[in-house]
């Protein structure tokens, strides 16, 4: 296979943790800084081989979603960031998911360094946990209360108005 010093890859193959392969075009993959860095590194080495990027932390279900997001955003990559249609799409995209899926998607966005998806997920989760009680938050995040009743009462008293 011929190799050239100024090579340019058009596609990469991404492998999920459960060993499924996804062929992704470069523009879409570049939405993830992790994938983009891999592509850039390979291009610098001047290889024309199709590269395989294994993602040991992302299942194929979640990878499908991340790539769906990347594909949509690659389409709008040249538009300005405030595109209303894209914002609407983002919102509809996340609305479908339960907490477990949102959780995995947020971690995948973090792992794949897809900053805009990560911000979107964090904002979406934040919006969904506003105005809840402490008990509801503990349930959602599966957190055990490690305060003594006295400690908890003291913290409440510091800013009692916030509990009204």
């Amino acid at each position: 296979m011929a190799s050239s010093s100024s090579s340019s890859l058009s596609r990469v193959v991404v492998k999920s943790s459960d060993n499924n392969l996804f062929v992704v075009n470069k523009k879409v993959a570049s939405q993830s800084q992790l994938l983009k860095q891999c592509i850039d590194n390979m291009e610098e080495k001047g290889t024309n081989d199709v590269i395989l990027i294994p993602l040991s932390n992302v299942t194929s279900n979640i990878l499908t979603l991340v790539l769906e997001y990347c594909e949509k955003h690659a389409d709008f990559a040249d538009d300005d960031n405030n595109n209303q249609e894209l914002k609407q799409w983002d919102h509809e995209f996340l609305k479908k998911f339960d907490y477990a899926t949102l959780n995995s998607l947020t971690m995948a966005a973090d792992y794949m360094v897809t900053k805009s998806l990560l911000n979107l997920c964090c904002q979406f989760i934040a919006d969904s946990i506003k105005d809840l009680t402490v008990q509801q938050i503990r349930q959602i995040f599966d957190i055990k209360n490690d305060f003594t009743p006295q400690e908890e009462a003291d913290i409440k008293n510091e800013n009692a108005w916030a509990f009204r």
């Binding site: 860095q37 932390n57 947020t106 995040f141 800013n159």
Partner: protein
């Protein structure tokens, strides 16, 4: 042929999530991600969620988190952009603040006095990052403090020292202009006061010949510095002390000269270099009420003629000269200009205490549907924060350049 680039990927992957996928149907995220999410919540929620567990308590109390919250919450939550506080001075003891939302349809969100205001009869200035400066100049002992009403933290400031060469027959008068803000360069919160003098002997009050002095307080060092004296004597119109944040860290006050004198003066104070400047105001037609505002990223001087009822807007250019930008009117039923909203609208006070929004270009006015029989003292963008005053060095670190920009939050 397929080549693995796993080795290349490893060193670029700086943000590897370590926790496993949530399997209990809920959220199970690393602390970094929890911080990202919590930093987008309102202050009231955060104060409540400190009770969730010990690790959340320490996260929410940490200065790095507080700083991240200032950045993330106010950038991502657009709703606060439409909110402002209108300040009404009722009596020495009472100050009413109303929270208005004027982006879509004007409405009053809440109308309450700032409860438990810690210093009786104090003037208030700010907020900057949710912190207010309080000044009680009405009795013999001068009290000054910084206050975060959300967390109810109050920090008393040391008294301003007397400048070394002050003649013995003079004392500080209760009149002063003051401002509170953040210096993005030294990452420090600062209070600036312009203090004038009076004679100890009331009979000789008119004979004071000493111009006012400028002092600046730094939260980081918890001390005052004397910056110098103004070049001439101005009258201070105490209740209408108005300071405005400006993009480059400078603050501006209008020192009224009263009806008898010719010269009004605008004092600017550059927080980054602790230097002040006196700028003469344009010659306006009297009798008129005046105010400062920000218009299209410049300081604007508003004068409203009390009989003709026309509003003139001057803008300050980079050379420090005023250019007349608009003359609007007559605007019947208006008594004074108050300030501005966003970058291109003005706020006016009507004869019967209603707030009026005015677009100087189209000359359209809109009644904000909010009425108080009292005299409006000022309008501020509503903003609250977790910034702590307990540990000065901590709260000062709480800020970086990006926030200083986001912080440009005057209406």
């Amino acid at each position: 042929m397929v080549t693995s680039c796993r080795n290349d990927c490893q060193h670029v992957s700086t943000m590897v999530a370590t926790s496993k996928d949530g399997d209990g149907g809920g959220l199970c995220l690393s602390e970094d991600l929890i911080i990202e999410i919590l930093s987008r919540l309102p202050v009231a929620d955060l104060l409540r969620y400190r009770c969730v567990c010990k690790s959340w308590y320490s996260v929410i109390s940490c200065s790095d988190f507080i700083s991240k919250h200032l950045e993330n919450y106010y950038q991502n939550d657009r709703s606060w952009h439409g909110c402002l506080l209108a300040l009404y001075y009722v009596t020495q003891a009472e100050l009413n603040m109303f929270e208005l939302s004027i982006d879509e349809t004007p409405k009053v969100l809440a109308s309450e006095s700032l409860e438990n205001r810690p210093m009786y009869g104090s003037f208030i200035c700010g907020p900057c990052d949710g912190i207010y400066y309080l000044f009680n100049g009405c009795d013999g002992e001068r009290e000054r403090a910084l206050w975060n009403p959300v967390t109810n933290e109050l920090k008393a400031l040391p008294p301003v020292f007397t400048k070394p060469d002050l003649p013995s027959n003079l004392a500080y008068s209760i009149c002063e202009a003051f401002g509170f803000g953040f210096d993005p360069l030294s990452k420090d919160y600062k209070v600036v006061v312009v203090k004038c003098y009076c004679s100890e002997d009331y009979e000789l009050a008119e004979t004071v010949t000493l111009p006012a002095s400028v002092f600046v307080y730094s939260l980081r060092t918890d001390s005052w510095t004397y910056c110098g004296d103004l070049s001439q004597i101005y009258e201070f119109d105490m209740p209408s002390n108005q300071c405005y944040r400006f993009l480059d860290g400078s603050y501006y006050w209008l020192l009224s000269s009263g009806a008898k004198s010719e010269n009004d003066c605008v004092i600017s104070f550059d927080m980054t270099i602790d230097a002040y400047q006196e700028i003469h105001t344009p010659i306006y037609e009297k009798p008129a009420s005046r105010s400062l505002a920000i218009y299209h990223n410049s300081v604007a001087y508003l004068s409203f003629h009390e009989i003709k009822k026309d509003l003139v807007i001057w803008m300050l250019n980079e050379e420090g000269l005023w250019t007349k930008k608009f003359t609007i009117g007559p605007l019947s039923g208006i008594r004074s200009p108050i300030g501005h909203w966003k970058d291109d609208k003005l706020l006016l006070d009507s004869d019967d205490g209603r707030l009026i929004l005015c677009d100087p270009v189209t000359q359209e006015t809109r009644d904000l549907g909010f009425h108080s029989g009292l005299w409006c003292e000022g309008i501020f963008v509503y903003r609250e924060s977790l910034v702590s005053l307990k540990d000065c060095s901590q709260s000062c670190q709480c800020h970086d350049e990006a926030q200083a920009h986001a912080e440009n939050n005057r209406p």
